[in-house]
């Protein structure tokens, strides 16, 4: 037994020693860590993000990089949707001397990263890191939990709900709204934002139901909820559901002949559309995004960019925020004249960018990107069909209405501490 232990420790020492010496550094690139699930159940989402960022960085590099020739490199760091691995990968990023990390899938992990970086920057002055958040939407990150080191390039829940509510108010046929959300932080923040904003902006609309369900695929059968929605006489369902909770909801609604509209944030994700199958054509579903491929009047460079991306990757084109993020970062580096994180962060504050629907601004007060949003329907009639990994679903998005900056700009409670 003694020998076993000795051998074991010897082995561990050897292995650890061997692997710890392998980290290398190159000078002529700026490395940016992307911490996302690249393995495990939702690796597909993480890989799509990796593709999108890699492509965006490639575009910058093709134009000559930043600071007159320095290239950007995206380094994928797998967190497997797990808190410890997120921390581990952050440590790895520190080891590799990365100043920028990007993440967006899972607000819980984003929250961790914010806390980690706050602590890290406090404990290691001179080796600061900046967190660029591309999709984690918890409003609190730019309200009470706001941090100088965090920049969000996606609209937060409140902004998205504001856009949805604005659109609901435009449709005079909507009288009764039923809300169904997942019973966890995100679902609840959707719920409370919707209640508040409906009261403010669409006072004629009555909320006839307000339900929270057990999230993450625990509900197998949505029939009882659908029966309640039907019984309430609602004409519109407002839901923040995503993943299997969205897919089963839609499938159940379609097969039960529930003829309400669905106003959603994530109902139009390509993975969800794949899950609906042919029900995607039957459901009257709307989603809010910062853009979509079929939106009229987008600048040519956006179309070119999309075409270039689709020529290379078999995914669909779903979001533009990866492009903004990298382009704005590159611009900030050039503006600051250095890749050092603090000047770049300061350069990012207040920076503007020409987005697909118009100008977007990184608000300095809370580091929340202010942007117009578009509400669109899933329909067979749209010109270009959504494709995903070679699957053609026969449906695409068609614009219902745009919520301009005035509609999506909301006050913040952030009291930012700056270095």
């Amino acid at each position: 037994m003694k020998h076993v232990m000795k051998l074991l420790f010897a082995g561990v020492v050897a292995v650890v020693f061997a692997v710890s010496t392998q980290t290398a550094k190159a000078v002529d690139t700026i490395k940016i860590g992307l911490i996302e699930p690249l393995s495990g159940r939702i690796a597909a989402v993480g890989k799509d993000a990796l593709d999108a960022f890699t492509f965006a960085a490639d575009q910058i590099n093709k134009k000559g990089g930043v600071l007159g020739g320095i290239q950007l490199e995206i380094i994928g760091l797998d967190n497997a949707m797990n808190a410890e691995k997120t921390t581990e990968q952050l440590k790895k990023a520190v080891d590799q001397g990365l100043s920028y990390v990007i993440q967006g899938i899972g607000s819980n992990h984003a929250g961790n990263i914010i806390k980690f970086i706050d602590k890290h920057n406090k404990r290691n002055p001179g080796k600061e890191m900046v967190f660029l958040n591309h999709s984690a939407v918890t409003t609190a990150f730019t309200n009470e939990l706001c941090s100088f080191w965090h920049f969000r390039f996606d609209a937060n829940v409140d902004q998205k709900v504001a856009a949805l509510v604005t659109q609901i108010n435009r449709d005079s046929s909507i009288k009764k709204v039923y809300m169904l959300n997942q019973n966890y932080a995100y679902g609840k923040s959707f719920q409370s934002a919707a209640q508040r904003l409906l009261a403010e902006r669409a006072p004629n609309v009555e909320i006839v139901g307000n339900e929270l369900i057990q999230p993450f695929g625990k509900v197998q059968d949505f029939t009882p909820y659908i029966a309640k929605i039907k019984a309430s006489g609602a004409d519109t369902v407002l839901t923040g559901n995503w993943g299997p909770d969205m897919i089963r909801f839609v499938k159940g609604a379609v097969s039960s002949g529930l003829d309400t509209q669905f106003y959603t944030i994530y109902g139009g994700l390509t993975s969800s559309i794949g899950g609906y199958g042919s029900d995607a054509k039957a459901v009257n579903l709307k989603q809010v995004t910062e853009m979509h491929e079929n939106h009229d009047g987008m600048p040519d460079d956006v179309h070119e960019y999309i075409a270039g991306y689709l020529a290379k990757y078999s995914d669909t084109w779903y979001a533009d925020r990866q492009r903004w993020l990298i382009y704005m970062l590159a611009a900030a580096i050039d503006k600051a004249g250095t890749a050092a994180p603090i000047p770049v962060a300061k350069a990012l504050e207040g920076m503007t960018f020409d987005g697909p629907l118009g100008q977007v601004t990184m608000r300095a007060d809370d580091h929340q990107l202010q942007m117009p949003l578009v509400v669109s329907s899933i329909t067979e009639k749209a010109p270009k069909s959504v494709k995903y990994k070679g699957n053609d679903f026969g449906v695409a998005f068609s614009t219902d209405g745009v919520a301009d900056l005035a509609a999506t700009t909301l006050p913040t409670t952030c009291e930012m501490k700056r270095p």
Binding site: V4, D51, D95, Y184, Y186
Partner: protein, 421 residues
Amino acid sequence: MAGILQRWGVWIAAAAVILVMPVFVTSGFYITMLNQMGVLIIFALAYNMLLGQGGMLSFGHAVYFGLAGYTVAHYLNGIGEETLPYLPVSLIPIMGGAVGLFFGVLIGFVSTRRAGTTFAMISLGFAEMVTALTLVVVTFFNGEEGIQTDRWVGPEPLGITFGSDVQVYYLIGAWCLIATAAMYALTRTPFGRMCNAVRDNPERVQFIGYSTHRIRWLAFSLSSFFAGLAGALHAVNVEHVGFETVGLAQSGLVLFMVWIGGAGIFMGPILGAILITLLNSNLSDFTDAWYLYLGLLFMTVVMFARNGLAGLIVMHEPIWKIKIGLFQKMIVPYALGIGSTLLAVAGAIGIIELAYFMSTRTTAETITHLYWVEIDAAGPVPWIASAAALAAGFAACTRTYPIMAASYNGAIAEVKALVAS
């Protein structure tokens, strides 16, 4: 002196290794990994008190790990906000243990009346319920976001702030050593012996005066104590406790560690925790198929190596203890056996990697790297080569395994003869 070494050599060596490790390992990533390893060693040993020592298969032991983690995270926050009395961070793990013990005593009472499948199913039921509660009881669990915490709180005795990972490393290392020693000692007590007895033959235990329920309950409670201790260290290490720490995945991971390492041997879970953490931290950067490999490894061990990898090592213990020279004769047969295994495994990995590459690629590109060779995954050559390696390796295994077994049996027979004479 020699006597002391004889008796305490292993522990002194372990302490020395823990002490000097940070001299060699300077990367924050690997320090974090070592910290995690220490936590999981404690957790795996605690789990093995149930599975290996007591014969209780639990699908929900992470409940005690996680609940302790949550409590400790809240407590640290309380210290930080000065709403709760100060307790040195280095003693916080005891508090985690107490939390684990509390829930272990409570839930253990109802779930340990029977062993076997009933116990396994109850553990599954509790795990599902607690996981669901993480989303319902927001005040304590804070849903899927979990609880953030900061271990750098309160006074700073001797300048220890636990701000740096190395300080946390020593904290975990010390606790790991203490907990391991304590759990090892437990196996030597009357209670520890009765635990084994209940595992092997619950019927007979009743007839020598012991209540099987009491023994299982006690084992469950103590195991929950150590699981809680590990959970507390986890909270201190990661400074975050989320719903995944109480979930089925975490319980499954510790089960994998223990069984792959070897449930029947005290060292087994340690070996398993080290191995799986190493692989988990490093392999997933290289391959998408890491979980598949983990599952296959687990199934292979379940099917062929009852006492896990540690069992394979311990099998050879008599040989090196009695006459290490006998290994000479075994080198060639073992090399043959291991070689053919590696060939088969290499082939299997080739196929899996190719399949994963083809199914997860997002571009039209079909050129990839397999074993540092650039290949075209769409062409037949790499597939045929991999399949051929797998088939050849498998065929070779069927030939070489008997040779390997014969050489082992021969050596053991020789050892037996030596002992007898």
